[in-house]
């Protein structure tokens, strides 16, 4: 266990593992996402109330789901950075923050597109939407702070503190639809209950959520690899890797 933990701290070891994992992540992600989206868009039954317009759920929910859980992952990595000073954790935070920003934007955008036919408006200032917007700002703040500090180590630790402070927003997003009366419908998936939609709808949704997770894993590995190469550019193994073409 401890040996694994130490290995995980080594950028070189992670670089190799990531290279081996990435084809699987990419293939699985594309496969699941395609299956979920094609099933959802073409074969899942119409909603009795919203007709075909509900089908954007197969893109909206995965992005919103990921947007939040990426932040939680970043928070876990932030704790690891602050407590154990593990290099990889801070590489992770730095690499996935822009991905989280894009996912949050996509979920807000698809939500707006969905809101127009169902609520009759692109945007309402309701709790769910506002807290997602705050999440977008938080991602922006994390990226801005990271870019503003030149020293790598200080940047990592400062960003970790900021990520942890911003974590208070996550439960607010999660429970906003239950705490306040809002336009936004409650969550589709809950750990303790069966989904309130029929299986023909939630199975493709689950597939696309899982697919996007895998795809995110691939993207995170790719970005982390790039960041590792940048940071370790003076080491021998990176020189070997670049010159010979293998790790």
């Amino acid at each position: 266990m401890w040996q694994f933990f130490h290995k995980l701290g080594s950028p070189k070891w992670f670089f190799g593992i990531a290279a081996r994992l990435m084809p699987w992540l990419l293939a699985g992600g594309i496969l699941l996402l395609m299956a979920g989206i094609v099933w959802g868009l073409a074969f899942a039954p119409k909603d009795y109330l919203q007709g075909n317009s509900y089908r954007i759920i197969f893109i909206h929910v995965p992005t919103a789901f990921l947007a939040q859980s990426v932040y939680v992952m970043m928070a876990v990595a932030a704790v690891v950075t602050l407590v154990w000073r593990m290099k990889l954790a801070d590489v992770f935070v730095k690499s996935v923050a822009p991905v989280g920003l894009v996912l949050t934007f996509l979920s807000l955008f698809t939500g707006a597109v969905w809101g127009k036919p169902t609520w009759g408006t692109w945007w309402v200032w309701d709790a769910r939407l506002t807290s997602m917007l705050i999440l977008l700002f938080l991602y922006g703040g994390v990226i801005a702070l990271d870019r503003a500090i030149n020293d790598e180590k200080s940047a990592a630790r400062a960003v970790s503190v900021l990520v942890l402070v911003g974590v208070v927003n996550i439960p607010i997003i999660q429970y906003s639809v239950e705490w306040w009366n809002t336009l936004h419908q409650p969550s589709t998936f809950k750990l303790t209950e069966k989904p309130s939609m029929p299986a023909e709808m939630w199975v493709p949704l689950l597939l696309s959520v899982l697919g996007l997770y895998l795809l995110f894993g691939w993207l995170a590995c790719l970005r982390m690899q790039t960041e590792i190469l940048l940071r370790e550019q003076r080491t021998r193994w990176v020189k070997d890797y670049v010159l010979v073409g293998r790790g």
């Binding site: 705050i134 700002f137 702070l145 503003a148 500090i149 020293d151 503190v161 402070v165 911003g166």
Partner: protein, 241 residues
């Protein structure tokens, strides 16, 4: 800055208790502030001016101002606290006092708490005192003004506490001012929502107890967690230099 208007801090002895150290930090910050009175006035003037912009820029109609007044005052207060945050650690950072604070045997988060308390007394509290006057100018009724003052009284310390984290994180960075706003405004939004929500609820004659309790919860949460975060951020920023 004139060197002799900044009294030095003397809490070198280990025998100085944490409370005495906090008191020393607090009184020193007050002294520094009162020797530079213009710095105290600036956020207040800013507050008044921002409030003035709305009747002139949007509409001087009584109905509009009555409806939007509480929000305008809250936003203006928020911005003026934000503006003053840059001073919270900056001067102490520049002249090295901050390093001495970090080296003290007393826990840093308590000293940070004392500095934040001084910041609130110097900016937040005057804003609350000024609010009734501006409340009358935006045609709020007496009850709303009372509730507004109460929410600002509970809310501005939260603003100072959360702000201290941002001020500590951005210490010594280029374009720290804008960055500070970017980091801190998202965290201010919940306080703003509940602050103005309380006044709106009071204007409708609904009970405000639940709202005030929630704001109190914000204050307790910020009071217990923010000093730790800003102390950690201060250590990071100092090791950065």
């Amino acid at each position: 800055m004139n060197a002799d208007c900044r009294p030095t801090l003397t809490l070198r002895q280990d025998s100085v208790g944490a409370l005495a150290a906090m008191q020393a930090v607090f009184t020193r910050d007050m002294k520094v502030a009162f020797r530079q009175r213009q710095d105290l006035l600036n956020p207040l003037l800013f507050f008044v001016m921002v409030v003035t912009l709305f009747p002139l820029g949007v509409s001087p109609e009584v109905s509009f101002l009555r409806e939007a007044g509480a929000g305008i005052l809250w936003v203006a207060a928020l911005l003026s606290v934000l503006l003053s945050l840059d001073h919270l650690f900056r001067h102490d950072f520049d002249d090295g006092t901050l390093e001495q604070l970090v080296l003290q045997p007393q826990p840093l988060f308590l000293l940070v708490l004392a500095k934040t308390a001084a910041h609130w007394v110097l900016t937040g509290l005057p804003l609350v005192v000024l609010t009734p006057v501006l409340g009358v100018m935006v045609h709020l009724d007496g009850n709303s003004i009372g509730v507004l003052c109460l929410t600002l009284l509970i809310g501005t310390p939260v603003l100072s506490l959360i702000g201290s984290i941002g001020a500590a994180l951005t210490l010594g960075l280029r374009s720290a001012g804008v960055l500070l706003s970017l980091l801190i405004i998202p965290l201010y939004i919940p306080v703003l929502i509940f602050g103005t929500g309380t006044v709106a609820s009071a204007a409708e004659g609904a009970p405000v107890g639940a709202y005030l309790a929630l704001m109190g919860a914000f204050l307790v949460l910020a009071l217990t967690l923010a000093p730790f975060a800003s102390a950690a951020a201060l250590r990071i920023s100092l090791s950065n230099g």
